[in-house]
């Protein structure tokens, strides 16, 4: 029937690459039309709700923060309750430089925030990612608490519990005034930053590196068995994730013109985790959906009925853990499979 050795590789690789599975892998990274929707909606929001741009900016920052967590959690499988450590680092980097008049240019300020948070991510990653499970979770919590207490201890420089108020940020491009009064400038600025970061994350996710991260998440032991330097990959991923979280923190400090210890709160870290799970982790757009859903609900409900909001949130988490661990996007998948059009590519 067939020869006892492998056939020599046929140069007609086209027939192989024409296979639907190959085609899927080769075109997965292409931009789909509906990927423009979130951005169109964001621009639309700008024109449609000029009074809500402050909320809009908050929402965009939440999306960026959740996106950073998705890299670590959704793609590399690093379970952390301490991601606010990097958010806070970025926030204080920007905040302290601005408060002491050392550096107020916003865009480069974000680069500094990214570098600062990235360094913290690299150092803590090198050390923490030797562990896993509960130990790792504990260590991420402790790192975040440690940074918070550190900022508290250095209250002469950081303003301690009260923080650093009235940060002055230089105008964007030297032209557009930047302070909370100019919510439109802040919104567009934040949107631009989010877009750049998103494109970066998207490229990363579809790259061979991103693919290996997925492998690590899916089966760690198998990755070891194919010779993958797993820990190195995890540390790199964690560092990048930290840097982006730092940018989110920097944006938060800049747009609020204020920074305090709440940047490092457990509450904040838990919230970003909830947002990501709610939307669906490992899915790139889960961060968008989760942030919109969460913040919209929180904005309307939490203010009016804070206790009911907390109860509802708790119930939601329990239900998600039991029945819908892949969040809204996951539910969307299930519905699509059952009632949607059957596509050739899955």
């Amino acid at each position: 029937m067939s020869s006892s050795a492998f056939p020599t590789p046929a140069p007609a690789a086209d027939t192989q690459l024409g296979h639907p599975a190959a085609h899927l892998l080769m075109t997965r990274h292409r931009f789909r039309w509906w990927e423009a929707l979130p951005w169109i909606a964001a621009i639309g929001f700008y024109f449609a709700f000029p009074d809500y741009l402050g909320f809009g900016t908050e929402l965009l920052i939440a999306i960026l923060f959740a996106l950073s967590l998705d890299l670590a959690l959704g793609y590399a499988g690093i379970i952390t309750l301490g991601h606010a450590a990097f958010f806070g680092t970025g926030a204080y980097a920007v905040g302290m430089l601005a408060f002491y008049g050392i550096w107020t240019e916003p865009m480069t300020g974000l680069v500094i925030a990214a570098v600062a948070a990235g360094v913290v991510g690299l150092l803590s990653g090198l050390v923490l990612l030797r562990t896993n499970g509960l130990t790792l979770l504990m260590l991420t919590l402790c790192t975040m608490a440690l940074l918070q207490e550190g900022a508290n201890m250095a209250h002469d420089y950081t303003g301690g519990f009260d923080g650093l108020p009235s940060l002055s940020i230089a105008p964007v491009f030297g032209v557009f005034e930047f302070n909370p009064l100019y919510a439109d400038t802040q919104y567009l600025y934040t949107l631009a930053v989010l877009m750049i970061c998103f494109l970066f994350v998207r490229t990363l996710v579809y790259s061979p590196f991103g693919q290996s991260l997925t492998g690590i998440r899916e089966n760690l032991l198998r990755m070891h068995a194919i010779g993958s330097p797993v820990r190195r990959r995890l540390v790199v991923c964690y560092t990048i994730s930290a840097a982006i979280a730092g940018i989110a923190g920097g944006l938060w400090a800049q747009t609020n013109a204020f920074v305090n210890l709440s940047a490092f709160d457990l509450d904040r870290a838990a919230t970003v985790l909830i947002i990501l799970i709610l939307g669906g982790y490992g899915r790139l757009y889960g961060a968008f959906i989760g942030a919109i859903a969460y913040m919209a609900l929180e904005h309307f409900l939490a203010r009016l009925y804070p206790t009911a909001w907390q109860l509802g949130l708790g119930l939601l988490l329990v239900l998600i853990a039991l029945f819908a661990r892949n969040g809204i996007l996951g539910l969307g998948d299930v519905l699509w499979r059952r009632y949607g059009v059957r596509h050739a590519a899955s």
Binding site: L17, H19, P208, R233
Partner: protein, 254 residues
């Protein structure tokens, strides 16, 4: 002259007072088709773990193409050319069959750390993976998620990933384990058609598989080599029969 690909010298591993592997001298040449058999608890999987670097020996050394690799890690040994399959599948169950193989091939060719272009552009990797699937008759399943496949095919994917690493030495830990007998031939065909040059060691309980493929059989009992020889010699060996074959393990060849 055939080269010695893999060699061990007085390789030993103890767990406290338990001597799991004792002073094993072992050689595997290019093109070898060896089988390792023995009762449960004889230390076969421990031996494989020592060869692949999952475990460190308490004594002795492992050499690859003459070079001492005893101190290297599992990942390093894969890069040096030793690959293995596991008794229980270790696959990326949520990903497609093709992607499972692509990840391994990408790792091998060194594409995996690249961050700034889409994996989809590496048509060389995707093409090579598809060809491999063709050869193993898995092409029809390329698009399916591994978790959707019947167990026998999943076992084949395990083999495909390992072959995709283009190893010089291939260690197969009970490749037919758990596979329904109706599907066993799939695995056997694939093993039969491995590149001639690869040095292969199979751990097996199924004597059909052993007799079909092995030029040489090593019997391990209590952590030490009990007997060695061609399949016929081993089958005729009364001591081996008493210790192992005679106890009803596996099928007898009549």
């Amino acid at each position: 002259m055939t080269e010695t690909r893999l060699e061990t010298r007085a390789l030993s591993r103890s767990f406290g007072a338990l001597k799991a592997v004792q002073e094993i001298d072992f050689k595997l040449d290019a093109g070898a088709r060896h089988a390792l058999i023995g009762p449960n608890g004889a230390g076969k999987t421990t031996f494989i773990n020592l060869l692949t670097g999952v475990l460190r020996p308490t004594n002795g050394s492992v050499l690859l193409a003459g070079r001492d690799i005893t101190a290297t890690t599992q990942a390093e040994r894969v890069k040096l050319g030793i690959a293995r399959t596991f008794q229980i599948n270790r696959l990326f169950r949520g990903l497609s069959v093709l992607e499972n193989v692509c990840i391994a091939v990408a790792e091998r060719v060194g594409a995996a750390p690249s961050m700034f272009y889409p994996a989809g552009r590496r048509t060389d990797i995707i093409g090579e993976s598809m060809e491999l699937l063709e050869t193993l008759k898995l092409a029809d399943f390329a698009r399916h998620r591994v978790s959707e496949l019947p167990y026998g095919r999943q076992r084949l994917v395990e083999l495909a990933i390992t072959i995709g690493l283009k190893p010089a030495v291939l260690l197969l830990d009970e490749p037919a384990a758990g596979v329904p007998s109706a599907e066993t031939h799939i695995i056997l065909d694939a093993i039969e058609r491995l590149p001639e040059d690869i040095a292969v060691l199979i751990i097996e309980h199924d004597m059909d598989v052993v007799f079909r493929f092995a030029e040489r059989v090593i019997v391990m009992v209590g952590g030490a080599v009990f007997a060695e020889g061609t399949p016929r010699e081993i089958e005729a060996n009364l001591q081996v029969r008493a210790v192992y074959l005679g106890q009803g393990h596996g099928a007898r060849r009549d």
